[in-house]
Amino acid sequence: MGCTAEDIAGALHAAAGVIAEHRIELIELDRAIGDGDHGENMNRGFTAIVSTLEDKVPDGPGAVLKLAATTLISKVGGAAGPLYGTAFLRAATSLGAVEEMDGPAVATALRAALEGVQARGKAVAGDKTMVDALIPAVAAAEAAVGETGADVTAVLAAAAAAAAKGAEDTVDMVARKGRASYLGERSAGHLDPGARSTALILGALAEAR
């Protein structure tokens, strides 16, 4: 069975909870190799998504993701705002007007999101950014679709696990994009905050299923 607009709204609600819980952790990660605002930024954005969705859940999964996208764009700022905003916007667009999102649609949406982030931010694998969580997530989602077919839960779970692993792998990387790149070699040895938040969000979405 696929996800309805209500399901996605619920999942975003869950993601907001997880981000709030990890606000300090994300701040601390960003404090180490950035400017210390990532947790605050993401929390501000997801809190805004929840209160927007409380007013009214739009019709269809694509419309919900689009509302999340515009909310992130207008509330987050920083690097993460436009990048996550683009990710959600591209994912929304990829869904079109479907009533329910199935497993393959999840994989397609994730790939669209990744492509959007890369189009905006120009980061490639190994640059120590959220892209390093998204690339393995997309690959795992697509593989899961190949194996399990249409099961949203399995696709999301695979993506989340891969994103978590991908985020961990950023620890050893030297940043080449974003604020951490100013540190050069000194950026190695730290987890990238954006990769971590990507893994947290995907984890929450998978859990919410």
Partner: protein, 333 residues
């Protein structure tokens, strides 16, 4: 953390209210999204000059709104670039036929958010252009970084572009001048002690009692290198060498020397550093034709300074000297 605030999440808005109350003759403030607008905007027939970025660097940018400088400033959350709709609101409030120049500091977030705002403005049929300033010599300008950061040079750029717009230059000319300034301005910063972001509550980085962060950014991002604390003479020499040799500035050049406090360094130390810098430049045969000394682009209460050099020509000097009337910079009025 001890700060004179009520709640970290309302600091920017509450501070802007104080700015509006203090300078009602110069600016008006819109909340949500937050925008600081020149009191008499839109000024008909004039190119609008707009800048913005994370808060916490005051007086940059909101303190530079007014006659002869910015038409609007877009303050984001503390150390967080503002969102496109805020930039769009600034454009709407200030921009007419003559178009607008957006002055963007080179940080991924600033570039992306202003880029989107520019697209929105273009969709509204407005002639809005952007320039990206990246004057910080501390960062290697390579494919291995997000590029050089925009720092002290931003203040000088805003003054000069604002003066050009005020004297009636077209957007083409204002943009060309802005790119000229960006091409010939260079900066370096150091930190002696870290700032504390209100919503974080602990210092942005930890420095040992005898350490200096050399090449610090203005967001408390760690710099490029940690050095041992050293006397002012050695530190200023090290800073100036980095700046002078980068462009490079040469014997015979006329420059503007901008000695900036990052916030927590008091005037007594700032002028001391400035005096050393003036002497060292004279020794190199570089003429300091204009100077600016003070806390103009800060990082909350961070202790440290930055040095900025801008190569001048007669037109830039005329634009620098032109009247300006803003909360933080005023002369000729």
């Amino acid at each position: 953390m001890k700060k004179i605030i009520n709640d970290p999440s309302t600091v920017v808005t509450e501070s802007l209210r104080g700015l509006a109350a203090a300078h009602a003759d110069l600016v008006r403030v819109r909340e949500d999204p937050a925008v600081v607008i020149r009191a008499d905007a839109p000024v008909s027939g004039k190119v609008a000059v707009i800048s913005g970025g994370g808060s916490g660097h005051e007086p940059l940018h909101s303190g530079f709104v007014g006659r002869g400088m910015l038409d609007a400033a877009v303050p984001g959350a503390v150390f967080t670039s503002p969102t496109p709709d805020a930039v769009q609101a600034a454009v709407e409030a200030t921009t007419g036929e003559a178009g607008a120049l957006l002055i963007v500091k080179n940080y991924t977030g600033d570039v992306l958010n202003f880029e989107t705002a520019g697209e929105l403005a273009a969709a509204d049929g407005l002639d809005v252009r952007s320039v990206v300033i990246d004057d910080d010599v501390a960062v290697a300008d390579s494919t291995y970084t997000a590029g050089r950061r925009g720092v002290g040079g931003t203040v000088l750029l805003e003054k000069i572009a604002g003066a050009a717009a005020e004297r009636g230059d077209s957007l083409d000319v204002v943009e060309t001048l802005a790119r000229q300034v960006i091409g010939q301005v260079r900066s370096i910063g150091v930190a002696l002690a870290a700032p504390t972001v209100p919503h974080v509550g602990t210092p942005s980085f930890d420095l040992g009692a005898d350490e200096i962060e050399f090449g610090i950014g203005i967001h408390g991002e760690p710099g490029r290198e940690r050095i041992k604390a050293e006397p002012a003479e050695a530190l200023v020499t090290r800073m100036l060498d980095a700046v002078v040799e980068d462009l490079p500035f040469a014997d015979g050049d006329r420059v503007l020397l901008f000695t900036n406090s990052m916030g927590g360094t008091p005037p007594i130390e700032l002028y001391l550093a400035h005096g050393i810098a003036e002497r060292l430049l004279a020794e190199r045969g570089i003429t300091v034709a204009r100077r600016l000394v003070g806390p103009y682009i800060t990082s909350l209460e961070m202790q440290g300074i930055s040095l900025t050099l801008l190569r001048l020509d007669d037109d830039l000097i005329e634009l620098w000297d032109a009247p300006v009337h803003t909360p933080a910079l005023r002369w000729g009025v």
